[in-house]
Symmetry: C2
Subunit: 336 residues, 2 copies
Amino acid sequence: MAPRKPQPQSGEERLIARYFRPLARHPGALGLTDDAAVLTPPAGAELVLTTDAIVGGVHFFPADRADMVARKALRVNLSDLAAKGAKPAGFLLSLALPKRIGEGWLASFARGLGGDAETYSCPLLGGDCVRTPGPLTISIAAFGTLPQGTMVRRSGARAGDRIVVSGTIGDAALGLVLRSDAGAAKRWRLDRSQRGHLAERYLLPRPRNAIAEALRARASAAMDISDGLVGDLGKLCAASGVAAEVEAERVPLSQAARRALAADSALIETVLTGGDDYEIIGTVAAGKLASLRAAAAAAGVPLTEIGGVRKGRGTVRVLDRDRKPLLFKRPAFSHF
Amino acid sequence: MAPRKPQPQSGEERLIARYFRPLARHPGALGLTDDAAVLTPPAGAELVLTTDAIVGGVHFFPADRADMVARKALRVNLSDLAAKGAKPAGFLLSLALPKRIGEGWLASFARGLGGDAETYSCPLLGGDCVRTPGPLTISIAAFGTLPQGTMVRRSGARAGDRIVVSGTIGDAALGLVLRSDAGAAKRWRLDRSQRGHLAERYLLPRPRNAIAEALRARASAAMDISDGLVGDLGKLCAASGVAAEVEAERVPLSQAARRALAADSALIETVLTGGDDYEIIGTVAAGKLASLRAAAAAAGVPLTEIGGVRKGRGTVRVLDRDRKPLLFKRPAFSHF
């Protein structure tokens, strides 16, 4: 008998070598050839660690483009780092693949992932790839760094602070309705570009990493909005031991969302309590509001003041233009 | 209309508060009430990062006890940290739950997870909990620390080094056969305790974190064996640019595995190439072998010398007692 030939690569090794090794250019990734990655935080820094998973048929449509799925998986994690004021340092990818996923899909997935890793300076450090008889499941753990003790928490809001949000609210939730209700676009009188805007905002979050440093320097509390503005602001208030008052009229809306609301005013609930915004909600001492908004504007991110922090225990009041409180059936999105 | 009451917790928040918050006693976990966790590595340390997922019906049986599933999910990650010489610092948990999972299951899962987090000083730092229409999927990202530049890599083996493995090899692969082949225990003439031993070795890995420091101080290369001794040693050799020669007779076997092999000598392939050992395979300069074995023994972990490193390019020769090479159909386990 002849001695064994050099080990043929396993299917998993071949997949990793072909699609993911080219993304792993960070020296700590060790070319994805080891059991673990190495990360050396800058002196005096601490690490911010977060993980978020997305599941086919739950967080994205099985027919969504693979590069978009990859980018969404990374971006929902980047959004957490942004809200905490952390600078992205890298991520680990855990991928559960159904048998039907082919090489074309993987090539596109890796392309999308690599593009965003580059855009957000958040390199792939390592990962795991397993089979699943269920839907495609992507779990990412992302790491950021910041100077010790400076993480922006949910718990720092104080009565008197002003409340701000980045970008526009409700687009993704309306985009999701459009995906599952073919008649909605017509009822809402959306033109093609407005439909496209909402659909794209569901498909692909825009994490606000550009304002991480501005938040870290000035915000008293912040989080990213993944489960709806009202519900997530409620979590921030609960963590801070305060209450909030939001003026519905001031909540920033895209042109498309405004048009949908004009056609059906009941959509205000979808806008304010739907999920997947991936915008930042933060609080800031009144005296720092102007400076925070200026810093965000300089980074290209609009921040809008939508209300104020009050004494209380987690309550969020949303007032209409007559200062009457709006009441919602389901304040926040939850899978459970 | 009355102002909104304090936000009722969502189902996910309630789950986390009830089952996982009690585990999150590390201050950096922030009681699982924030978007991210904080970790401050000791001065001069670097972080070792690893992730491994396990999927119901693939890596464990859906009927396995929840506490065992939790412990396996954490232990396969701890095993990577051990092989790299890192001290556990904490982990993030990403849990995709099917609807049928009830609270009793979760309580048991959290109990198992918390017990091992304590045993291995690897606290829960944060996580994510999502719904899946597929099987239960648990992805863990685990972090360890070690002095800068001291991670034990796969790539450090040199010709002339000796090869060692911890514990015993093949038990888990035989245990898996027992789970799916009801007649095997009888054919192999195993008594009840031997059957129990093999089954338990599949169910619950025993990560070798007790020898992490000994490996870091003395091993030239190491990895944990998850896809079979021969295949994983091949990966280590390929990363190091060397070859290996293993004497099959020297591979440490449990009493149960020896008995099964005595009944069916063809099982040697299952033993040497089956997966799920979660033992360490390492290489060490001949002059440090005795000291490494002594340090491991002092930590309560047997290390057995099974062969040597040669010049070459990834080839692993396994020799029988007559120094004839054994040939295997499938050198390593792979899902792909």
